[in-house]
């Protein structure tokens, strides 16, 4: 009943078609969309959105910052960061943000992107940690979110076998505290759809619980984190937990922005370390970051000849809905400890990493030939070294990683500013087939960076304020077999993008992307041979505004998929977004109407969708039908905001939606979400 009511209210309010975002949110959205092009479906980008939103409210003081902090903005290239510090070193502190225009590599787009997140104003508050200061000047941010799929799916019915044991409701509770740049703390609870809410099996009291307390910039101790944290160093080859960006229309994203130790505030149930970590300045320009983590992981278990339980696969989804998923929950303990030594100057950064990972059970990879070189055993030691060096208009970067008693991997690249309007990136990588690492997010075509060699080259051309061109090409090959690829294979990828923005309120983008890979033939033959699988995307996108309150976005996207000698199949998507965001109104919101028609899952299309703040969605458009959603935000009080979202798929000519336990009778699937944020 409660849902019905919300449902009706949401529907009524769609009439007001409002925009849940300010202009900076639009920037965040554009940024995420351009940088997150190649991410898998289940990537959690809320941490990034969170980070950017935080800087919007608490801008970085450019005269008092460091490279590590600026790297967290992700869109600044390492060369730009280096040039900024060089400028400050030569000319003294920045007096006006307009000065940025005189720094090499700072083009108009970058400055526009940067402006909302930086300041030159001195922070007036004393940042001494006292009880009174903590109470008086601390920022508290509380988010409570509720959502569910409105239709009842098969998994919630009284099935004899596997079924969802909990309710279809999703809850998120997140509290975050920050005090200047000295103290940070968070507490997160999450319940996914299908999980038990309170005191279910193997949960006390919520399914997912995460938190941290961090003390920052205390003398030699630059960072101390107790609780959940992430470690991101070098080129993500040796030690990198959480997400990292790779190939995308932002061609410089292949040069990773390593931000070192960071408190973890995301609701992703897998990508973090749990324990204690610190970064200590042990000498001038030298930092040491020791860390220790102990946590439980979800794993499917098997039994070996001695009757011992062994680990078959680690499950990263964090879903504990069915009896089987609950049985697998927390079945494995992972212990990680080690340290990172970094030497940092303006131009040169060098780091060395060593750490040890152990499990309480033995890993036994599957018996398929492609798994032959996978990790096998209980313990693993990883060492690595990384560097970056700025010389004139060149930025060189790279990393070497080695798993002891197993493989080696290395990646090297350069970012070059060829002229004031052109920059280029090249990246070479070679990851051996037996390179084992549980915290590896290095640039790769495959989802994990091993068994791959490749070369990437990209160009970014901004001949004027109005035009912008990006293109990259990447060739890769896999020396060993892969899942569904019964021979060494290879492929390539190409992307070209043109942006035309004659005015502040009009922007048109054309994008072409082509990717060819090899995969086992779909035919039944005695021995699988490889077929070329080609996927091409064509996209045209226009954003425009009418007046100060209304803005529009239209997109048409076509995907072509072709495997071997088979016929090409096509997928189409067209949508219209309208957003309403008047300056002085308490209400803002947006809607989308989309039509999609894809021949099969192979020609599916992804597109960014607006959502409630901090919830990041890439919509999947597969099949044939209509998609619509409406978001709205209402400012209840000065520090209290409420978001609502209603989204629906209406498929044509189907009798059921989804498959397995998620199957829903009929042709509709709709979802609602409501979120409250209280900042105090």
């Amino acid at each position: 009943m409660r849902f019905k009511l919300l449902f009706i209210i949401t529907f009524l309010l769609i009439g007001f078609a409002a925009k849940a975002q300010t202009q900076e949110d639009q920037l965040i959205k554009d940024l995420i969309e351009s940088i997150a092009e190649n991410l898998p479906e289940d990537y959690d980008l809320s941490e990034l959105q969170d980070r950017l939103t935080y800087y919007r409210n608490n801008p970085i003081n450019l005269n008092k910052t460091n490279a590590e902090e600026l790297k967290t903005l992700v869109f600044l290239s390492p060369l730009q960061i280096s040039n900024l510090f060089e400028h400050i070193r030569k000319n003294g502190k920045l007096i006006d943000l307009l000065e940025l225009q005189s720094i090499a590599e700072f083009d108009v787009v970058t400055i526009q992107r940067l402006m909302p997140f930086v300041t030159l104003e001195q922070n007036a508050i004393v940042d001494k940690i006292t009880g009174q200061n903590l109470l008086k000047y601390g920022n508290n941010d509380l988010i409570v979110r509720y959502g569910r799929v409105i239709e009842k799916s098969k998994g919630y019915t009284d099935l004899p076998g596997s079924r969802y044991l909990g309710t279809p409701d999703r809850y998120l509770f997140r509290y975050r505290y920050t005090y200047s740049n000295r103290v940070s703390a968070s507490l997160v609870f999450e319940k996914d759809a299908g999980e038990h809410f309170f005191n279910g099996p193997k949960q006390k009291p919520f399914d997912f619980l995460s938190g941290h307390i961090a003390l920052l910039n205390t003398g030699r101790f630059k960072k101390i984190v107790i609780g959940d944290y992430s470690m991101q160093f070098g080129q993500a080859l040796t030690l990198w937990s959480g997400f990292s960006f790779g190939k995308s229309p932002d061609i410089t994203a292949v040069a990773k922005r390593d931000v070192g130790l960071r408190p973890y505030t995301s609701a992703n149930e897998f990508a973090f370390l749990r324990g204690a970590a610190a970064t200590v300045g042990i000498a001038k320009n030298i930092d040491f970051s020791p860390f220790v983590s102990h946590r439980k992981l979800d794993a499917s278990l098997g039994t070996n000849a001695n009757g011992e339980k062994t680990i078959t696969t680690i499950n990263e989804t964090g879903l504990h809905r069915t009896q089987n998923e609950i049985n697998n929950k927390n079945t494995t303990e992972q212990m990680v400890y080690g340290g990172v030594l970094q030497y940092k100057t303006n131009a040169l950064n060098i780091g060395a990493i060593a750490y040890h990972t152990s499990f309480n059970r033995i890993f036994v990879p599957g018996s398929s030939l492609y798994q032959k070189f996978n990790f096998n055993g209980k313990e693993l030691t990883n060492i690595g070294a990384h560097y970056s060096y700025t010389y004139k208009n060149f930025y060189f970067f790279g990393e070497f990683g080695k798993s002891l008693d197993a493989g080696l991997a290395y990646v090297n690249g350069a970012l070059v500013s060829l002229s004031s309007t052109v920059s280029a990136v090249v990246l070479h990588r070679n990851y051996q087939k037996n390179y084992h690492n549980f915290f590896n997010q290095a640039t790769a075509e495959a989802s994990e960076a091993f068994n791959e060699k490749g070369f990437y080259a990209g160009l970014n051309i901004n001949p004027s304020k109005v035009w912008s061109f990006q293109l990259y090409g990447d060739y890769f090959n896999y020396p060993w077999l892969r899942f569904r690829v019964d021979a060494p294979s290879e492929g390539y990828e190409f992307l070209g993008q043109v942006t035309y923005s004659p005015t502040k309120t009009f922007k048109a983008i054309l994008r072409f992307k082509s990717e060819v890979k090899q995969q086992n033939t779909s035919l039944t033959v005695p021995f699988n041979y490889l077929d070329n699988v080609k996927r091409e995307n064509y996209r045209a996108d226009v954003k425009w505004a009418v007046g100060k309150s209304f803005s529009f976005q239209n997109r048409v996207e076509v995907v072509q998929f072709k495997k071997g000698a088979g016929n090409a199949e096509f997928g189409y998507l067209a949508y219209q977004d309208v957003s309403y965001d008047p300056l002085s109104s308490r209400l803002s919101g947006n809607i989308r109407i989309a039509y999609f028609n894809t021949a099969s899952y192979d020609s599916r299309i992804y597109a960014y969708e607006d959502d409630v703040l901090y919830n990041f969605t890439f919509g999947l458009y597969n099949g044939k039908g209509l998609r619509g959603y409406a978001n709205l935000k209402y400012r209840l009080a000065k520090k209290l905001d409420v978001w609502g979202r209603y989204a629906l798929y209406n498929y044509e000519n189907v009798e059921k939606v989804g498959s397995g336990l998620d199957e829903i009778g009929g042709k509709m699937k709709s979802e609602m979400r409501i979120q409250l944020r209280y900042q105090f």
């Binding site: 002229s419 052109v422 160009l459 051309i461 001949p463 060739y475 390539y492």
Partner: protein, 267 residues
């Protein structure tokens, strides 16, 4: 072994590589995105591109195909400017001792003012197979370059527009008919970006892009990509007074690396 190689070359390479004559180490390193680029080796691409030469220039180029023991391509070019006219001569030989194709060409180009130049070229093609026979034919190429602004140049050229063939039935190979359109963007005197779209009447569209970056006065770094097939190119150029040494490597997913070296001297 040699027979197999021969068959391989005949079946695949004649068509594939002869389609485009070697454009020298500099243009090759730029992904052969050469339609609007000026170079002495424009003689093997857009003949209007030779109007960039400031003085008489001679060049040699040698490319080695690593999958065979002795498969290579040797080329020679000479360009002579007089007033606003430019005459060029090029000779190319591709193959192994048992099989070779030779192309000799004579080109003429003229500058019409600062912005426009037009070039035409006549080619003689000859295929020679030991103990088998010869075949000879002629073809014509033509091209135009236009400078839109200080930074942007356009180029268009066609190879063999009249679709000449070898006038013999015992040779299967053909002289490709292609239309190539390209542009360059020169944001500074250190940097040239080039792109070319090529359409061979018997094949799919090919798109290529290339970069030539003068890192130091002496040293240039180059790179390029082409789409069909997907190839990557790299090269460096050493420029010492009147002498230029260019090195390029082409990387093809199936064939592997093809290195080449070029030498040119401006009198």
């Amino acid at each position: 072994m040699r027979k197999i190689l021969l068959a391989f070359i005949l079946s695949f390479f004649i068509i594939d590589t002869f389609g485009q004559y070697n454009q020298g180490a500099r243009l090759t390193a730029m992904g052969n995105a050469s339609a609007a680029v000026n170079d002495i080796w424009s003689l093997n691409a857009n003949p209007a591109g030779i109007t960039g030469q400031k003085s008489a220039t001679a060049a040699l180029n040698y490319a080695r195909y690593l999958f065979g023991d002795e498969l290579s391509e040797q080329s020679f070019a000479f360009v002579l400017p007089f007033n606003t006219n430019f005459a060029g001569l090029s000779i190319n030989r591709y193959g192994i001792s048992e099989l070779s194709e030779i192309k000799a060409a004579l080109g003429l180009a003229k500058k019409f003012g600062e912005d426009l130049s037009i070039g035409v070229k006549a080619n003689v093609h000859q295929i020679k197979i030991t103990n088998y026979g010869n075949a000879t034919t002629f073809s014509v190429d033509a091209g135009v370059n236009y400078t839109v602004s200080k930074q942007i140049g356009l180029g268009l050229y066609v190879n063999n527009p009249s679709s000449q063939k070898y006038k013999t039935t015992n040779v299967q190979t053909y002289i490709p008919t292609t239309v190539n359109f390209g542009a360059t963007y020169t944001p500074s005197n250190k940097l040239v970006l080039a792109a070319t779209v090529a359409k061979d009447f018997e094949r799919k569209f090919d798109v290529s892009v290339g970069v030539d970056y003068k890192f130091y006065e002496l040293l240039s770094l180059r790179g390029g990509l082409s789409a069909k097939p997907f190839k990557q190119y790299f090269g460096i150029g050493l420029n010492y007074q009147k002498l230029m040494v260019d090195i390029a490597v082409e990387s093809h997913p199936q064939i592997g690396y093809t290195p080449q070296i070029g030498l040119s001297y401006a009198f």
